[in-house]
Symmetry: C2
Subunit: 151 residues, 2 copies
């Protein structure tokens, strides 16, 4: 049930872009800076951000002073969306996938025990990941920071 490095790096980068924006303005950050701050191989990160851009989650600007920024408000980008783009379907087995259904080959899908159980897992994953936006993440982080300061 592991997240790939691609997925992990992509999420880290998106969270960083969401967190760095001063007062709602989307931050513009260069690949190199994200790569250095998050210790992600630059060339690999480049591919990941490009994928996210082509999927419509990021905008970019070339040339001097360019970089990446979120294409939408952080509140409108969910973790589930990012993960699906980079790692594919959330479903543990294809026969319960919403975005990439395929029959699993059991004699009767409707009464397949594995399918019933994995359906629950998929739904729970989707609920959490589609229900958590980048804004939710940054809010939670700053909350934890504050509670650590005062503690």
């Amino acid at each position: 049930m592991r997240l790939s490095k691609r997925g992990e790096y992509g999420l880290r980068a998106m969270i960083m872009l969401a967190t760095s924006g001063p007062g709602g303005h989307p931050a513009v950050i260069q690949i190199r800076e994200i790569s250095e701050r998050e210790k992600i191989p630059a060339k690999f990160l480049e591919q990941i951000l490009l994928t996210l851009k082509n999927a419509g989650l990021l905008h970019s600007k070339m040339g001097v002073g360019g970089g990446y920024h979120l294409a939408k408000p952080a509140s409108e980008i969910s973790l589930g969306h990012i993960i699906r783009i980079l790692d594919g379907p959330l479903a543990p087995v294809k026969c319960v996938s919403q975005m990439a259904y395929e029959p699993c080959g059991c004699p009767d899908e409707e009464t397949c025990g594995l399918r019933l159980a994995m359906g629950d897992v998929r739904n729970s994953l989707a609920k959490i990941l589609d229900g958590t936006s980048l804004e939710d993440v940054t809010r939670r982080v700053s909350k934890v920071r504050k509670s650590l300061k005062s503690g």
Copy 2:
């Protein structure tokens, strides 16, 4: 977030063993029969069942009339346990794993947004998978069967 074939096959076999038992008695079934009924490559299944046996979830008997059966009541074997044995930790990233923790390398773990979000995911997975026993699965299957009959 995909389940490996190893994990899938192992779960299918365990569910079959739990389902086939007549009135609480654990069913004794041969590799070959499981392999045929579930369409799992026999030699691969062999390895999987051996792993599950060495982990204490199955018992086996060699020779004529032998085969595999559950080592414990179906109510005491959780899907989470089976998956951990065959596929490793449930956690999407190692820094939130209970059974195989490793630092993820972020500057501050306590305030890492990714870690906070993935912690939720891990907990939810663990809640479902550790909270669902083979008995729960068989009960649910027979419930669905009945409702399909009467429908």
